[in-house]
Amino acid sequence: MTKIKSLADLRKIKEDLQEKIRLRENADQPEKLVQIKVGMATSGIASGAKEVMNFLIEELEKRNVEAVVTQTGDMGYCFAEPTIEVILPGQEPVVFGNVNVKKADEIIEKYIKNGELVDGIIPRNYETIDNK
């Protein structure tokens, strides 16, 4: 029987990582990284935000994009869930709506890598329908 993983194993991989992290220059300066927030309220979760978040974390690592992916509450765009906010280093945040895995892929390839805008941006001055 194979041994199940425990905290002792975690301590072991920690040692390797410490080395790796020391080599990474941006580790302590999150403002130099791509920051992504995934809207994770009831509406986001129900429409698949978790899959999108997993996809973003895994794919950004595979494609060597240094990024911080976190979750956030509701952004007030329930009609367009899942929504994600992307902040490229030194730029204004951009919110994308109706982000499925396919859209997320397009956002990584076009917007995050090349700064090219893609369809599905929710304008900043847009307020919820309630406030209209």
Partner: protein
């Protein structure tokens, strides 16, 4: 929502909004009484008495961005559908406990889904909050404590993708060991 783990993610987000610094998710599978209990306990700001009866009403929410709050009502509906219940206890200034019972062998009990993914996602996203997840079956008990994880990491950020991957595997293997109902 089809999976219990997604409900957990949702309810835990309520606790985070309530300013909790410690959130405990407990699942107990009790075969003798055909029960599957889910408890989410936090030390957040609590829910005032007059609000407590209303939080399971879909048209009540404390937020201002919109007028509906479906998290708790959806979970309540899912629990009641299997002959169980949802119960909330709260003390203002001390915290809130959401208790849910499902019938263990009921066909309509939602599958747990990707619980290891949810717990590690929370641990890696909210690094200032401590999460304790415990799951017990007749085969044993597993406790995941994000505080222990962080102290084992000794300064290495828990947000590193390889740590996340490790946590998912660690939780998953331990849950398989105690033969949880998936």
């Amino acid at each position: 929502m089809k999976e219990l783990s997604l409900h957990i993610l949702d309810i835990v987000n309520n606790s985070i909004t309530a300013g909790a610094s410690l959130i405990q998710v407990t699942i107990r599978e009790e075969e003798e009484s055909d029960s599957y209990f889910l408890l989410v306990t936090d030390n957040g700001k609590g829910i005032p008495m007059d609000m407590l009866d209303k939080v399971v009403d879909p048209f009540v929410t404390s937020r201002s961005t919109r007028k509906v709050g479906l998290g708790l009502p959806l979970l309540k509906q899912n629990a009641e559908r299997t002959g169980g219940f949802l119960h909330i206890e709260s003390v203002v200034g001390e915290g809130t406990t959401v208790t849910c019972r499902f019938e263990l062998k009921n066909f309509d009990r939602p599958a747990i889904g990707d619980i290891s993914g949810v717990i590690s996602m929370l641990t890696c996203s909210f690094t200032d909050i401590d999460f304790i997840y415990s799951h017990s079956t007749k085969h044993g008990n597993y406790v995941f404590n994000s505080r222990e994880v962080k102290s084992a990491l000794d300064g290495v950020p828990v947000t590193d993708p390889s740590i996340r991957k490790f946590l998912i595997e660690m939780i998953d293997e331990n849950l398989t060991e105690i033969k949880i109902n998936r």
